[in-house]
């Protein structure tokens, strides 16, 4: 399963560019296409073309609303809610909060491997629900302390979750069971 051919293309956040690329990938005859969407909606047209052609489409991180695509993502609403609650609690309910909206999500590498693996599962014939919600990563102070000892200044810590855990997540989604907790202190890969 892990020796399949892969190809990565980047559209630098341009939706028409990405749409063109997807059309070209359809021509090339790929079995599955995994997309970090440059637009919520602008890709729906080409995604439909792809699924019509029998290609498995999995969207992750920045999602597209196309109904025929599989979606792998965090529950961003819940994530935002939890973050807001945290801040409110710290401020004891007083004070002004400035919301700076920016680019969502930096743990793309992690999501990519999740999404690839989901695509492979689908191609192998496994039953996978259309929407897969990932459990939110939980980080404790002790994790921080451990990482700070290892990371250089400006370094980025990204937890890596294995395929067995992803399988558990898929099963939990399929059977509407509570999501497994994200593994703590899992192997950290640090870049600078």
């Amino acid at each position: 399963m892990s020796s399949s051919k892969t190809k990565v293309v980047n559209s630098n956040n341009s939706a028409p560019e990405q749409a063109s690329q997807i059309e070209n990938l359809i021509v090339e005859g790929w079995k599955a296409i995994v997309i970090d969407a440059a637009s919520d909606t602008a890709l729906n047209g080409v995604i439909k073309e792809a699924t019509d052609a029998g290609i498995v489409v999995v969207v992750f991180d920045a999602l597209a609303t196309a109904p025929s695509a599989y979606k792998v993502a965090y529950n961003y609403v819940s994530m935002g809610q939890q973050e807001a609650d945290f801040v409110a609690k710290r401020l004891n309910g007083k004070g002004n909060v400035l919301e700076i909206r920016g680019v969502a999500g930096t743990s793309v590498d992690n999501d990519i491997s999740n999404a690839f693996w989901v695509a492979q599962q689908i191609l192998a014939g496994e039953k996978v629900p259309m929407t897969i919600e990932l459990p939110l990563p939980v980080i404790e102070q002790s994790d921080f302390d451990a990482w700070l000892k290892v990371l250089p200044p400006g370094g980025v810590a990204t937890p890596v979750y294995g395929q067995e855990w992803t399988a558990e997540v898929i099963d939990a989604n399929a059977e509407h069971k509570p999501l497994p907790k994200s593994p703590r202190g899992a192997g950290v890969s640090a870049f600078s």
Binding site: P16, A19, S20, Q21, N24, V27, S39, T41, N44
Partner: protein, 571 residues
């Protein structure tokens, strides 16, 4: 009139030293197709170039000017000394309209006025003042703007500029054309003084035969050749006129030569579109080799689907560029159309249609504004780009909406034999070509870019013409937005941005030029296909998409560089 010649000859002071036969040579041209003898100008000579206007005199002057700037020893023309050029077409070749009289005077010798890298302003003023009095330029001060002077006085400034440089050789390109007789007489005197006192030599092209009395020697031109050399003593008007019409064996080849430019002109037009066409064919061949699947009906449709909005965008930009303007807001406009379509056209077609109509009116208004207030289109469309994008965001703050079903169906229609994008490309190319290049109004519209005077003379309203072109651009922009919405099935305020620069690239690669109303609809359509295909090729070649932009840049450079190379070869 020619009786005057002998009188003037008697009045001439001839300083023996200046007329010494072996005084230094300033200009020497070996015999060639223009003259069968050595053309020589020595210090202190005033040499006249006569004959009917436009028979090669100006070419000679420009050859001498060019030769003074190059270090080419081997060519058949040798210029020894500094050269100054005084043009008779002061608007085109002479004055700097935004500068003062003084600045116009001193522009030729600024280096000499610098001290420690900076121009000494007081010395500059003094010099300009000096020449103002010497040549009697009528103006209250040298700080007055040059345009406040009469034509004759402006011409005097140009002569002053040449004299101020103290150049050894002064080239007169019919500089006193249209100047009043009093000014002329003053200037003749100045020329004589400069030649006698300072040894300056003059090569003087004039179409007024009576001016030739000032010259020591006159060469008469006919059809690019010197047909006669007349010393002042033998100068008569009859002889000049006779030599102005003298036929020579070379005239047959001249006639043949005249045909060539027309033929070359036609070829250049075709070549401009041929270049992208050949490129497209080569790229298709490469695609076929790399990815045979692409060369099927489905493959071609997938590869070129997104060429549809680009083709319409390119046509829109073409209309604007045809007017020698540019549209930097087209991408945002297309985004706006996309948002209106997705948000309104399905559920409330009347509102949607009304809004789209309003957009087109907006474009027409922009055209009127640009014309009536004489504003640079580059900044107006830039401001408009903010406006379009702003409205797009107001309509769809976050992506959403749905395209109407009929639009989806149209864009996903599969005509027999020819995939939709190719079909649309062919139809659009032909229709736009016929409308813009083959109808008389189309010619008028393109004239906006290059030849406004002739449009006015023919009685067409220039404002209406510009508004028509902008309106057409607005309509084509709507088509582009509709097509994009049909392909994407939804709306997003950020989808249109790239079409601004891509549409410009398509028009230029397709043979168009920014100024002059030179546009080729067929070429632009081909170029749109090239841009899409380039992206596909990169993907098929597994080249990292990081380099996508670089490839676009290289295509632009190659096409334009090649075009320049071909043009140079044809000269």
């Amino acid at each position: 009139m020619m009786g005057v010649v002998s009188e003037a000859a008697e009045q001439q002071e001839v300083s023996p030293a200046v007329r010494a036969p072996d005084r230094p040579i300033r200009v020497a041209i070996r015999p060639n197709e223009i003259q069968k003898f050595d053309f020589v100008v020595r210090t202190g000579d005033i040499v006249g170039l006569a004959g009917l206007g436009g028979h090669g005199q100006r070419d000679l002057l420009q050859r001498i000017f060019a030769a003074s700037h190059t270090v080419n020893r081997s060519s058949d023309i040798r210029v020894d000394g500094t050269v100054a050029y005084v043009s008779g077409d002061r608007q085109l070749e002479g004055i700097f309209p935004l500068s003062s009289v003084g600045e116009n005077t001193t522009i030729g010798l600024l280096k000499r006025l610098t001290r420690r890298g900076l121009i000494a302003l007081r010395r500059e003023m003094a010099l300009a003042e000096d020449w103002r009095t010497k040549i009697s330029i009528r103006t209250p001060s040298v700080n007055e703007p040059i345009l406040s002077l009469s034509g004759g006085n402006q011409q005097k400034v140009l002569v002053a500029r040449a004299f101020a440089t103290e150049a050894d050789i002064v080239l007169f390109d019919d500089p006193l054309h249209g100047v009043d007789i009093g000014t002329k007489r003053e200037l003749y005197e100045h020329v004589r003084r400069q030649a006698i006192d300072n040894g300056r030599c003059f090569v003087w092209y004039t179409i007024e035969n009576h001016e030739l009395v000032n010259c020591d020697r006159v060469y008469v031109f006919y059809r690019g050749q010197i047909t006669d050399e007349i010393e002042r003593a033998e100068l008569t008007e009859e002889r000049v006129i006779r030599s102005s019409f003298q036929s020579s064996s070379a005239t047959e080849s001249e006639a043949a030569q005249e045909q060539r430019p027309i033929a070359a002109g036609l070829r250049e037009d075709h070549l401009r579109v041929l270049l992208p066409a050949v490129a497209l064919i080569l790229m298709l061949a490469a695609t076929f080799l790399l990815q045979p699947h692409a060369m099927s009906y489905l493959g071609l449709r997938l590869v070129f689907n997104f060429a549809i909005p680009l083709i319409f965008a390119a046509m829109a930009q073409l209309c604007i560029i045809a007017a020698s303007d540019i549209d930097l807001g087209l991408g945002s406009y297309i985004s706006l159309v996309n948002c209106i379509t997705a948000q309104f056209l399905a559920e409330s077609p009347l509102i949607g249609g009304g809004l789209l109509l309003l957009c087109i009116v907006g474009y027409v208004a922009m055209g009127a504004l640009v014309h009536l207030r004489n504003l640079p289109s580059i900044v107006v469309t830039l401001g408009a780009s903010f406006v379009w994008l702003g409205f797009a965001l107001l309509i769809l703050p976050t992506p959403g909406g749905t395209a109407p079903q009929w639009l989806n169906s149209v864009l996903h229609w599969q005509p027999p034999y020819v995939p939709l994008p190719i079909l649309l490309a062919i139809v659009t190319a032909i229709v736009c070509h016929l409308l813009l290049m083959r109808t008389s109004y189309g010619v008028v519209l393109r004239g906006l870019g290059g030849n406004i005077k002739s449009i006015k003379r023919a009685g067409w309203s220039v404002v209406v013409a510009r508004m028509t072109l902008y309106g057409a651009a607005g309509v084509l922009g709507v088509f582009a937005g509709l097509a994009l919405t049909g392909l994407n099935t939804t709306g997003d305020a950020n989808v249109g941005g790239q079409y601004t620069l891509n549409s410009i690239a398509a028009v230029i690669i397709g043979g168009g030029e920014f100024f002059g109303g030179v546009v080729f609809p067929i070429g632009a359509v081909i170029a749109s296909l090239i841009l899409l295909l380039a992206g596909s090729l990169l993907l098929f070649l597994n080249v990292s998409t990081d380099w996508q932009l670089a490839v676009q840049g290289v295509i632009l450079i190659l096409v334009l560089g090649l075009r320049r190379f071909i043009r140079r070869k044809e000269r």
